[in-house]
Amino acid sequence: MLRVKAGDVDRMGLLFERYHRQLFGFLYHMLGRADASEDLVQNVFYRMLKYRHTFTGEGEFRTWMYHLARNVLADYIKKNRHDRHHTDVADMAEHLGGGRRADEDLEKDQEVAQLHQALAQLSPENREILVLSRFQEMKYAQIAQVLNTTEGAVKVRVHRAMNELKTTYLRIEN
């Protein structure tokens, strides 16, 4: 990334190849819409190019990426507040469970679908922290950097989020 900063903009291609799926996954969990998530991926990479001088080289590239991603996401949600967009994640949750693959164990499949549904129904804060820790496999210290908070606070929030997930899941199951 420091090389991108130095002006070698082509390096951004390598970073895109390495990280765009992860970033897409994060945005998809937060928005529940693939098309909008793709647009926001482009948006995040555009900001990386434009603000490449703000990357200090301290800390990880990923931390910086999610930092920008959260800003882009917040902008998007603010702009689309009057749209029906805020229900997208919930909509997605309702459609889950359809389209199961026949080759997979049905019961296990249903469990996954219901848990996905539960995840989609969590508060954005709790969903975000679980996505970062479980799907993006980030260390608490990195998550703390992304969220501008302390490691201790992250720990507490992960714990709380898992509890909310459990309650929601049990409600859906029954």
């Binding site: 002006g7 903009v9 082509d10 951004m12 291609g13 895109f16 765009h20 799926r21 897409f24 996954g25 998809y28 969990h29 693939a34 998530s37 793709e38 991926v41 482009q42 990479f45 555009y46 190019l49 434009k50 296990k108 469990e111 996954v112 848990l115 996905h116 995840l119 679980l130 820790s133 479980r134 799907f135 496999e137 260390k139 608490y140 720990k155 992960v158 714990h159 898992m162 997930l165 459990k166 899941y169």
Partner: protein
């Protein structure tokens, strides 16, 4: 260590977030507490299931969209020139003829001198086979050099240099995947219409390669210039590429589509759907396209 604290740490444990000593303490407690082990099992089951939640793959557009954005960004950076000494130095450094190419050109010259010299000396002797071998080697090197030149020049900010890069590909016996990829990405993303048209002309004869065919079909959705749209439609008819019907129909939905392009595309869809060849005289062949000459099209494109 007590049970309450253990239960608080189970998720951290599953996410490999604990330090070595914390983990040792936790496993020690788990070894002697059935209650906590049971809790671990419950949390672990949810944690594992959560890990199986899948996200869809991003669509095929995400990559070309990104590279187009990157190219546009680079262009905007390039068009704000920096005339200070440092800027000039930077420009000189960025003038991309990579060192390996300069070296290759240099060694090729040396080899040339060596060959001529060798020829002079060996004229009296009978060493035809050795010479043949050397000449074959030289030909390979020239081929490699053209490819390197092409790959270096196609990134050049100047459109005429990029046109030169595209023209190099016609002299390549067998373009490598790298060259084909570079051409396809140029066709999709180059900001200059003339470069895109020349690239299409260079790609059309390579369409026996399935990757090229697919790239051409996919490119339909990426083109906005009426000239390129029309030329691509022509190529699709030449190749009898039925897979292009769907993207062509998509293209028809575009709002500001040029009227002439619209009728051209409708005609193309018609031809492809009925399976009648476009040109009644000759059946389409891979090594033939009826594109007009680059010069003609360049003239149109600059109008």
């Amino acid at each position: 260590m007590n049970c309450e604290r253990t239960k608080e740490q189970l998720v951290d444990y599953l996410g490999s977030q604990l330090s070595a000593s914390e983990q040792a303490e936790l496993t020690a407690h788990l070894a002697e507490c059935a209650d906590c082990r049971e809790e671990l099992q419950a949390v672990e089951s949810m944690w594992q299931t959560l890990g199986k939640v899948r996200v869809p793959e991003p669509s095929a557009h995400i990559r070309p969209d990104f590279y187009a954005m990157l190219a546009t960004f680079k262009e905007s950076v390039d068009t704000t020139p920096d005339y200070t000494l440092k800027g000039l130095w930077q420009w000189w450094l960025n003038l991309d003829i990579p060192r390996p190419i300069l070296r290759a050109v240099y060694s090729l010259c040396l080899l040339g001198v060596g060959l001529i010299g060798g020829y002079w000396f060996s004229n009296s002797r009978t060493t035809g086979a050795a010479d043949q071998q050397q000449i074959a080697q030289l030909a390979t090197q020239v081929g490699n050099m053209r490819q390197m030149m092409m790959l270096a020049l196609i990134e050049n900010p100047s459109a005429s240099e990029r046109l030169r890069a595209v023209s190099y590909t016609k002299q390549l016996d067998e373009p490598t995947t790298k060259v084909v990829d570079a051409l396809l990405s140029t066709l999709d993303n180059d900001p200059n219409v003339n470069v895109r048209l020349a690239t299409l002309e260079a790609l059309a004869p390579l369409a026996q390669d399935p990757a090229v065919r697919q790239g051409l079909v996919h490119s339909l959705a990426r083109q906005e210039s009426p000239l390129v749209q029309t030329a691509l439609a022509d190529v699709m008819v030449q190749l009898q590429e039925r897979r292009s019907v769907k993207p062509l129909r998509e293209l028809l939905k575009q709002e500001n589509l040029d009227e002439s392009v619209k009728s051209k595309i409708e005609q193309t869809i018609q031809t492809l759907s009925t399976g009648r060849p476009a040109a009644p005289s000759t059946p389409p062949r891979n090594d033939q396209t009826n594109l007009t000459s680059p010069a003609q099209r360049a003239a149109v494109a600059t109008v």
